[in-house]
C-alpha cells in the first residue's frame, strides 16, 4: 500500500504560518498543533525510545501519553500535541526525549 494516511479538510480561511521542522520551513495553519502538523507531513513517529531505540509515536494527542515528545523552540521533551503552531516556531524530531529509562546510562 502506498499514499498518505491522512488528508486535510479544505480550509476556508486563515493565513498560513511558517514553522521550521528539522531545518526546513513548512506551512502550517490555524487549528494545527505541532503533532497534527507532523502527522500531516507524513511523520508516523516523532522520536525514538531511549532504552529500546524503538520509534515512539503519538497515541492520545491530548497531553497524557507522552508519545509525541519533540524539541520545540529548543525546549527538549515538549509535548507536540499541546503546542499550537506559530510563525517561526522551530521543531526538532528524532530526539530520545524520555530520560531515566533503565537501559539509559546515567
Amino acid at each position: 500500500m502506498s499514499g498518505g494516511v491522512w488528508r486535510s479538510l479544505p480550509r476556508t480561511d486563515g493565513i498560513p504560518v511558517e514553522v521550521v521542522v528539522d531545518g526546513l520551513p513548512v506551512r502550517a495553519y490555524g487549528g494545527e498543533t505541532v503533532a497534527t502538523l507532523l502527522l500531516r507531513l507524513g511523520h508516523d513517529h516523532f522520536g525514538r525510545h531511549p532504552g529500546t531505540d524503538r520509534p515512539m509515536a503519538p497515541w492520545c494527542l491530548m497531553g497524557s501519553c507522552f508519545g509525541c515528545l519533540c524539541t520545540i523552540d529548543d525546549r527538549p521533551g515538549s509535548q507536540a500535541c499541546l503546542v499550537p503552531v506559530s510563525d517561526g516556531l522551530t521543531v526538532r524530531t528524532g530526539a530520545s526525549a524520555v530520560a531515566g529509562s533503565p537501559d539509559t546510562p546515567l
Partner: protein, 482 residues
C-alpha cells in the same frame, strides 16, 4: 483556581465569578472547550466544521463566561505541583499553593506559584488503553486521538488500511464522523463479545432494569445510542474479536485476530483503538484525596460529597474526573461545585439573606437535575465493561510504554513478592516514566488485583508525586515559583 476549561471547568468558573469571586482558570489545550468541544471555538481551524452547529453554539455559550470580569484564563498551561494545608499568613483560612507552567502567552512563560482559597479540579478523562502485542507501533493511536485530530486540525484518515478496534459510544461516533467527512475506514473490530458486551452484576434482568431507568432518565440519549448501534455504515465489521495483534517493523503493516469464525488477517496502516474513558485522577491523587474503586467503570474515582467537595478540604472535583458521566452532567456538576465553593469561601452570614437563599435553591435544583440524568450513564457503564486484559495481551505485551515494561515483567515482579501496584513499580519501573502512569496505571491495578486475587483497592493505585509533568530545572530557576 479552576483547573480544566471543559464543560465542568467553564461552568465552575462562571458560577464563582458570578458570586463576585476572582478566578484563575487554567487549561492545557491551546483553546477552551475541553476534549468534547476541541476545535469548536477556533474559527481559523479546518476542524471546526466537524462539530455540528449545535455543538459550536453550546461551546460558545459555555465559553461566554471567559468575558466576565474576575476570570483570568490561561491556555497551554499545566499544573506541576499543588500543596494543601497551608494557613494564610494573615489568618487561619486554609490555603492551597499551586505551581503551574504556562507554555505560551504574553508574560506567562516560566513556572509560577498561585495561592488560592479554593481549588476546583475539572481535568476530565483519559482513554483506557487496549493492551495487545504490537500496540506501541507507529500508526496506532486512540479513537479519541483520531477524533481530536479531526476536530482540531481537520485531519481525516484517508489511506488504505484504516481500521477501528474497540467498543463503546465514542468509537461509533468516530466511525460516523470519519465517513461523513469523506475519510476512509476499511474495517471495524468489535472487541466486546457480540452484540454489546456481557452484562456483569445483575445479569440480564439487571441490564433490562438499567435500560428501563435510563430510557426514563434521558430518552433522547438512549434513542441516539440505539440508532448508532443499528448501523455499521456499510463498513466490514468483525464481532467478538480476541487475540488482536499488530505486526510491522518500523510501523504497523498488518493486523491479525480471531473471532468465532476463525483467524483473520488484514492489511493496516492506521489503527484507532478504544476501550472507554477513565477519570483523570493525577491531580486528585497528587493532593492525597481519598479514592474508591468504581466497579462499573473499572476505575478509581475521588471520594467526594454531593457537590463534589473532598472531605475537610477546600477542594472540589467536577466533571468526568469525578467519575465518567459525559459533558452535560459535567456542566451541571461544575456549576454546583462553583456555587458550593463560593458559599464556602464567602459564608452566608456575610451575605444578604435573599442571595444566600437563592444560591441554596439553585444548588438544590442542580442536584435534582443531576440525579435525574445519572441512570442513563449507568446504562453505558453496564453495556461496555472494560475489555478483559487477557483477551488480547500476551506475556510480551507492553503495559508501560514509557519504561517498556511488559506483562511478563509485571508477572515476574509479582512472583518475586511485589504485593501491590507500587511494589511492582519499584521492581519494574512500571509507571515511573514521563507519563507518570497515566497510560498504564489503571491496567496495572487490574493486573495486580487479578494475579493476587485481591480487590483493586487492596492492589492499590500508583502513587503520584510532583512534578505532575516533566519540568526543566530552568523552569524552576527562571520562574516565580516558591
Amino acid at each position: 483556581m479552576v483547573v480544566g476549561a471543559g464543560p465542568a471547568g467553564l461552568a465552575a468558573a462562571g458560577a464563582l465569578a458570578e458570586q463576585g469571586l476572582t478566578v484563575q482558570l487554567i487549561d492545557e489545550q491551546p483553546a477552551p472547550g475541553g476534549q468534547v468541544w476541541r476545535g469548536a471555538l477556533d474559527r481559523s481551524g479546518a476542524g471546526r466544521r466537524v462539530h455540528p452547529d449545535q455543538a459550536i453554539r453550546r461551546a460558545a455559550a459555555a465559553a461566554e463566561v471567559l468575558r466576565r470580569p474576575g476570570i483570568a484564563y490561561a491556555g497551554t498551561a499545566s499544573v506541576i505541583d499543588a500543596r494543601t494545608g497551608l494557613a494564610a499568613r494573615s489568618g487561619t483560612d486554609e490555603r492551597i499553593e499551586i505551581d503551574w507552567l504556562a507554555a505560551a502567552g504574553p508574560g506567562l512563560r516560566g513556572l509560577r506559584t498561585t495561592t488560592v482559597r479554593a481549588l476546583i479540579i475539572a481535568t476530565g478523562a483519559l482513554e483506557r488503553p487496549v493492551l495487545f502485542p504490537g500496540a506501541t507501533l507507529p500508526g496506532i493511536l486512540s479513537a479519541g486521538a483520531l477524533q481530536g485530530a479531526m476536530k482540531q486540525a481537520g485531519l481525516v484518515p484517508d489511506g488504505a488500511g484504516t481500521v477501528l478496534a474497540g467498543q463503546g459510544p465514542l468509537m461509533r461516533l468516530v466511525l460516523a464522523q470519519v465517513l461523513r467527512f469523506g475519510g476512509r475506514v476499511d474495517a471495524v473490530l468489535q472487541l466486546a463479545s457480540a452484540p454489546a458486551g456481557k452484562p456483569r452484576a445483575g445479569g440480564l434482568s439487571g441490564l433490562a432494569a438499567t435500560l428501563a431507568s435510563a430510557a426514563v432518565a434521558d430518552p433522547s440519549l438512549v434513542a441516539r445510542g440505539a440508532a448508532s448501534c443499528m448501523t455499521g455504515h456499510g463498513v466490514r465489521t468483525y464481532r467478538g474479536v480476541r487475540q488482536l495483534r499488530a505486526h510491522g517493523l518500523a510501523a504497523i503493516e498488518r493486523l491479525s485476530f480471531d473471532t468465532d469464525d476463525g483467524h483473520h488477517e488484514l492489511p493496516c496502516r492506521l489503527l484507532a483503538v478504544h476501550d472507554g474513558i477513565l477519570p483523570n485522577v493525577q491531580l486528585t491523587r497528587l493532593l492525597g484525596l481519598a479514592h474508591a474503586w468504581h466497579d462499573d467503570q473499572q476505575a478509581f474515582v475521588p471520594v467526594t460529597g454531593k457537590t463534589g467537595r473532598a472531605a475537610e478540604q477546600p477542594i472540589w472535583v467536577a466533571g468526568d474526573g469525578r467519575g465518567i458521566a459525559g459533558w452535560e452532567l459535567a456542566a451541571l456538576h461544575g456549576e454546583l461545585a462553583g456555587l458550593d465553593a463560593a458559599s464556602a469561601i464567602c459564608p452566608t452570614s456575610t451575605q444578604p439573606t435573599d442571595q444566600a437563599a437563592d444560591r441554596q435553591a439553585r444548588r438544590h435544583r442542580l442536584g435534582r437535575r443531576i440525579d435525574r440524568r445519572l441512570p442513563a450513564r449507568r446504562l453505558v457503564d453496564r453495556l461496555y465493561p472494560a475489555v478483559p486484559i487477557e483477551r488480547n495481551a500476551t506475556p510480551d505485551t507492553v503495559v508501560c510504554r514509557c519504561e517498556h515494561v511488559t506483562l511478563a515483567h509485571i508477572d515476574a515482579a509479582i512472583a518475586a513478592g511485589a504485593v501491590g501496584a507500587n511494589r511492582v513499580k519499584t521492581f519494574t519501573r512500571c509507571g515511573m516514566g514521563a507519563c507518570q502512569g497515566r497510560h498504564c496505571g489503571n491496567a496495572l491495578t487490574r493486573i495486580v488485583a487479578d494475579r493476587l486475587d485481591v480487590s483493586p483497592t487492596a492492589a492499590g493505585a500508583l502513587r503520584i508525586r510532583p512534578p505532575l509533568k516533566p519540568t526543566l530545572i530552568s523552569d524552576y530557576l527562571d520562574g516565580a515559583c516558591t
